[in-house]
Amino acid sequence: MSNSTNVIFSRPIAMHDTVTHYCPGCTHGIIHRLVAEAIDELGVRDKTCGVAPVGCSVLAYNYINCDFMEAPHGRAPALATGFKRMRPDMIVFTYQGDGDLASIGMGEIIHAANRGEKFTTIFVNNAVYGMTGGQMAPTTMPNQKTSTSPMGRNVDQVGYPIRMSELLSALVTPAYLERVSVHDPQHILKAKKAIYKAFKYQVEGRCFSMVEVLSTCPTNWGYTPKEATKWLAETMIPYYELKCFKDPEKREGI
């Protein structure tokens, strides 16, 4: 390598060098990388413990290179609470999908957020249960076809999709809540800033942080990767507004 060659892009230290198990066009890989970059940039990898969910990202520890706990379905915020209370000197994050966080783990996330637990939650919302094969989630869009809503989500019978960021922002306890998307480079950069901030606030010992990341699931949506990003932009974003709901710095929403 000559002296004139500068490394301008490489794999984050907090990322394992491994082959992905995610489907083509799935955005989990991008989100994993953004988490790893934030951990690298804050220099906290050797004191970080992640909490993996049940769902497609159950194997998050195969990608993100730090200590990990593998939680029961939906309980990652409870594990993170127990861990962080015992080890406030460590950095703890949960990485959860929408079935995990918004359905079976609804109780755990609300109470952890409301107690102001000082950990970070990365909430990946792809409007479907991925790992079990594309069943309807609490976040599935109206009329969206899934394997358990073959005629499309009927809102008269199962209600409208849950907007988790809005729901949590109704809590008084100060928290950092932002919804972002990773369907194109411009939004990925914004997502990166949000995820970095969510970890930074924890490093500073400030507050509970959650970043909701709109994500694609081409396999279970029945689209090509390109169609999937288009569907996310045109169908999900109008319903799941991209914005910062609460930020202790900006005192937004307080």
Binding site: Y61, E70, A71, P72, A78, T81, M86, G107
Partner: protein
């Protein structure tokens, strides 16, 4: 240290502090809420963590997260709450995590009642949650023993990297007795940074993954046999029991644990005064069950009948049958639903066995013969 008068629940809480526990997670439920109330004040005094969770499901999983630090952590609850914690207990066993769980049992099934019972025996000793695992189960019969076993429970959890459960009925939790504590010992606290298995930061080492997920069936089977090895070691090293007035004159061997065993002691004393001889075999570890030891006592020539006495509709009875293996007739007496049998009731059952007479079929005195599976 001086003897002090203390309620069982509070004594259990203080014992955990003395054992070096630094984290306690709880959800209120009768008849054990005094543990939480005591620790809400006491934990901050020793710099530990006290947290009331939003449900027993969450509390069990907070314990899971807390145990992953390698520090000494515990929770307490009562029967319906323990049912909700089974998820986390199964995961903790699968992930080889130490934690102490106290069940101050009340009557069930369902919401049941709030009075003392021993009807969670199966749940405690046969697994409780899903999968190939066991928890080590200890059953005290006095408040002092609850203190001693609580401290032992933390040592055993660390020794085996497995959840340990202390089960006492509501009576153990609610009654006051004189207790003595060993000296406070901060040296028992685990330094999380020195742990060779806990999640304490992947500095100069590979990341540690605390999990019970093994998608490869060969790996999962390996983990199950690894767990089984620990349970076999427990069977060799952790069997605990006590004999009371067991001698060559006994015609009846009573098998009973916890509060029920104490009542049986009274029965044995009264029988002795009246010229009848019975002895008590009191299991202290319910898993591992003192099978060999019980059989040794039961097969002795002088023993005519083994009588199992429980505050349930017969759960430990199955382990008594497994131990005695048809060598002697086994009878059962039990009350349940929160009813604590009086010594008179138990005594009349014993007298019935000593001087048999025809009686109407009473479900509380199940006739169990030697035809065991």
């Amino acid at each position: 240290m001086a003897r002090i008068l203390m309620k069982g629940n509070e004594a259990i809480a203080e014992a955990a502090i003395r054992a070096g526990a630094e984290g306690y997670f709880c959800y209120p439920i009768t008849p054990q809420s005094e543990v939480a109330e005591y620790l809400a004040k006491r934990m901050p005094e020793v710099g530990g963590v006290f947290l009331q969770g939003e449900s027993e499901v969450a509390v069990g999983n907070m314990l899971f997260g807390a145990a992953s630090t390698g520090m000494r952590v515990f929770t307490t609850s009562s029967s319906p709450g323990i049912s909700l914690m089974q998820e986390a207990i199964s995961y903790m066993a699968g992930a080889h995590l130490p934690a102490v769980i106290v069940n101050i049992m009340r009557g069930g099934p369902g919401l049941g009642g709030i009075l003392p019972a021993q009807s969670d025996y199966f749940q405690a000793v046969k697994g409780g949650g899903h999968g190939d695992y066991r928890v080590l189960v200890l059953a005290p019969s006095t408040v002092q023993e609850a203190v001693d076993l609580m401290m032992l429970a933390f040592d055993l959890a660390d020794k085996y990297l497995n959840p340990v459960m202390l089960i006492g009925d509501g009576m153990i939790g609610q009654m006051m007795e004189a207790v003595e504590f060993p000296e406070e010992t901060k040296s028992k606290r685990n330094d999380p940074n020195k742990s060779d298995w806990a999640a304490n930061g992947a500095k100069d080492r590979k990341p540690r993954i605390i999990k019970s997920l093994f998608l490869d069936p060969n790996q999962l089977e390996d983990n199950c046999w690894l767990l089984d090895e620990k349970y076999e070691q427990m069977k060799r090293e952790e069997v605990r029991y006590e004999l009371y007035k067991v001698n060559a004159k006994n015609k009846i061997l009573i098998v009973s644990y916890g509060t029920m065993a104490r009542i049986c002691q009274t029965v044995i004393d009264e029988l002795e005064n009246e010229g009848f001889s019975a002895g008590l075999f009191r299991p202290i570890s319910l898993f591992p069950y003192p099978m060999k030891e019980l059989k040794e006592e039961a097969v002795k020539k002088n023993i005519q009948t083994v009588l199992t006495v429980e505050m349930s509709t017969a759960q430990m009875l199955e382990d008594v049958e497994r131990s005695v293996l048809g060598e002697k007739p086994i009878k059962f007496f039990g009350r349940t639903g929160g009813i604590v049998p009086t010594p008179e009731e138990v005594k009349s059952k014993v007298m019935e066995l000593l001087k048999p007479k025809k009686k109407a079929n009473d479900p509380r005195g199940k006739k169990r013969g030697t035809n065991v599976k």
